[in-house]
Amino acid sequence: MTNHWRDIRNTDLILINGANPAEAHPVGFQWFMRAKLDRGAKMVHADPRFTRTSAVADIYLRMRTGTDVAYFGGLINHVMQNNLFHDAYVRNYTNASFIVKDEFAFNDGLFSGYSSDKRSYDIASWAYKTGSDGFATRDLTLQNPRTVFQLMKTHYSRYTPDVVSSITGIPVDDFNRVASMVGEMGKPDKVMTIVYAVGLTQHTTGGQLIRSAAVLQLLLGNMGRPGGGMNAERGHANIQGNTDHAISWEILPGYLKIPAPGQKNRDEYVAASAPKKSDPNSWNFFGTNYKKFLTSLLKTWYGDKATKDNEFAFDFVPKPASNASWMTIHDQALKGKMQGLILSGMTASSIGPDSNQVQQALSSLKWLVVMDALPTTSSEFWHAPGATPSAIQTEVFMVPTTHWIEKDGSFVNSGRWSQWKDQVMPPQGQARHDHWILADVFSRVKKLYQDQGGKFPDPIMAVTLKYKDPLKPELDEIAQEINGFDLTTGKRLSTFANLKDDGTTTAGDWIYTGSYPDSGNLMKRRSGISDPQANDPTGMGFYPNWAWSWPLNRRVMYNRASADLDGKPWDAARPGITWNGSKWVGDVPDYPATMDPHDPKAWLPFIMNGEGVGRLFSNGMVDGPFPEHYEPVESPVQNPLHPNNSASPVAFLYDKVAGRPNRFGGPQEFPYIATSYRLTEHEHYVTQHVPHLVQLQPKPFVEIPEELANEKSIKSGDKVRVSSKRGKVEVQALVTKRLGPMTVAGQKVYQIGIPIHWGYVGVSADSDPSHGRYWLANALTPFVGDANARTPEFKAFLVNLEKI
């Protein structure tokens, strides 16, 4: 989230896409309702399924899954054609005025630079025209036909209400009603928020679905403002914190890129990785400080072995040859190239995608370590119903770990609030902390290398373990390490502005510098709502002394954009930060605290990117600088915009590239669209072990639209088989009006809904005669993902439906 949960109450209009917060994030949803009840905000829910969120929305739009680019593209078109954008914001705070190279083009669904052999783009033409000073050229009148503004206007002119309706299935009148409401939000004293979840991310176009919404928010001037922003609801307690700390193949802590082969030193790495300044008034804070952040990280990890002479051990950081993400791990296992997998609190068998293929991948490993407090479908995969244990040669370790309540440490919520928790209970049974297990294993590996030698042991020997007990580090010690130190004074740092690239500072994750300064652990703070006058001085709900929010305890990111060129809030009633004549006051400013906005040299508002302004056009995506609608890989229709290039032209096709048989199905055999989701009473798979929750939602089911059920003579409670090209589920039918037929590209289509929570492990499975043999929802989902992030396309695929 650019903003945070409580801030949603500050909005005028809430667009909810790819999400069902009333059921999946019910307690966070109270802030949506407060906006509605306290300030008369409107709520629009666009979703394939009518949910409890829809029930309290002002407008519900039944939308075909995965078509949000068309929806947002239509809204962008409405705003641009009718001049409803926030004019001053768009001119000054976005790259609308930047002039794009003449070579950039878009034809029949393809951007310039496409290679069909490589299924990828050469992005050289996706760039600004530069002047003699090397900076991008601009036309602040926005009239030049090569400005981002004009190119974008042309690009989205194809997204008329009729086209939007044809792609999304949303009736034209309903779309127009929403467009009128959204069009009001470009007024400076209005603000809209967009809230989304994995219903946007889990598509082959996931990154662009989200970008299309962000582009709309920039046009309306809603980024950086209380009550505005792009707000992702995350689904696990600490998925945010552990993304920040880079348990992700492509980054190092604090969103630094993983180095690539060929980069020999820090300067080459920074040149290839950091944003570049493209306007004289751009601060380019991230790019300017990239080397300091990296050096401080290397110094933290490799201590005395990181010196000026060896480029601070830059060589120790592994450099991947190519993508190494979730699906790649299993793809490599299927190819026999992955020997071992360590899973912690994550079960591959249930997650999939294409669970049957993933089970094959697990069977192809030499060894599998499952670190968990409770059995999972992966720890038990070798004796799953239907499996032959003697044929599975994978060595499996079930390592009992402690629960959240048995250790301290912080959880970071969707709104970036890092909240420290106490250790409440001692470990149950023989369970051990994950980090103690990892420390112990690491120490044993190190001993083996010391005794026997082996491949390049240097980094293993160098990794710093300066804890009171290196086998049992305290999370408090690690929190201090993450915050970082000034090595010349030995004191903890209070801001990343003081980090250096000469090896005199450390920071395990620069965005957390300031979370644990010399004054103590700020994540423990609990100055809450019992005293709003003292604890919420601005009245905006920031509660700055409740926990700590990255970066620097800022509650709304990009908040310089909440104020106009003079530093006055766009809406005086909802200030983010305000220039008081000598400094910025309000939230922690995302800007130098005393920089006078009237100074001709004042930085542009978006300090983290090279342009200094929000990017309506970006070369940061592999599938195009403007979001474009592509069909899911499995779709019942051809793309009405460009049938020759119907689906994403650059999504990576694992099975095809590996030479495995095709596992995608077509609409003749699999005529129905399916999508998957959560229920209120379960959280993925772990809650299958919680008896109260199993009582509330005991058995797996699929939701079937009433009209389709009638065609097939299926009644609620009947057992049905839902099958895709990859597998099947056999569960009970729930016939419902919540789903219904839609007209898409002139044809009638149905969508089926599949909750994800069940499998062959848990209380329900234990009492089932088949032991949940065909309960894995992800047995159906396709092994293909977003062109950028490789997030699987869990949310749109084709199935057949039969009564059994």
């Binding site: 409580r6 348990i247 082969p261 592994p318 071992g340 912690s344 999370l475 959280e683 919680v690």
Partner: protein, 196 residues
């Protein structure tokens, strides 16, 4: 203890309605007093601690209550929403409200379990056995799949044959520590729930 039936509660409600304005409490004190249930709080004298809900990422703050028994064991008495939190204001969903059943569970894996290749059963093993074997596997797979210099002559120092995935239930500091150690081993396949 006075037993109050549903019918009597309705009667109390009706009888009290006339007194609501008078007391401002919404119920009639006199009637309520007459049906007082003798009860001491389950959490009286307990240790209060701060936690955070382990499920989704709304980040509902929790208050937990524990008591040390005579034999030294710690009893978890209660988990509830923290009313002072600007995030949840004391509220919890069904998952958070039943967090005690996740915290204390007879379904927990009590001891390290090992399944040999092709075996049809788990075997209980010691921590030493398990950690030694995992360490040996890591070293063998790392040595077998480690690339120091790639085909173009670039120093890459990467281990291609081991993957680590998970961490959305870790405390942040554990996650950071896992990243540090796994990158230290040279892993490039490093993933967690954010991807899926």
């Amino acid at each position: 203890m006075t037993e109050v039936t549903r019918r009597e509660i309705l009667k109390i409600g009706l009888a009290g309605s006339g007194a609501i304005v008078a007391t401002g409490l919404g119920f009639d004190v006199a009637v309520a007093e007459s049906t007082k249930v003798k009860q001491s709080l389950r959490i009286s004298g307990a240790t209060e601690s701060h936690s955070v809900c382990p499920y989704c990422a709304v980040g509902c703050a929790l208050l937990t209550y524990t008591r040390k028994a005579a034999n030294g064991s710690v009893q978890l008495l209660q988990i509830e929403g923290d009313p002072d939190s600007p995030v949840n204001e004391g509220r919890l969903c069904p998952k958070g409200a039943t967090a005690m059943q996740l915290a204390i569970s007879p379904r927990r894996v009590e001891a390290p379990l090992y399944r040999a290749p092709g075996a049809s059963d788990w075997r209980k093993v010691t921590w030493d056995f398990m950690l030694d074997k995992i360490a040996q596997n890591i070293k063998a797979s790392r040595d077998a799949t480690f690339v120091t210099v790639d085909g173009n002559g670039n120093t890459v120092n990467r281990c291609e044959g081991i993957a680590f995935a998970g961490g959305a239930a870790f405390s942040s500091e554990e996650g950071y520590f896992a990243t540090k150690l796994m990158r230290g081993l040279g892993l490039v396949h490093l993933e967690q729930q954010a991807r899926v």
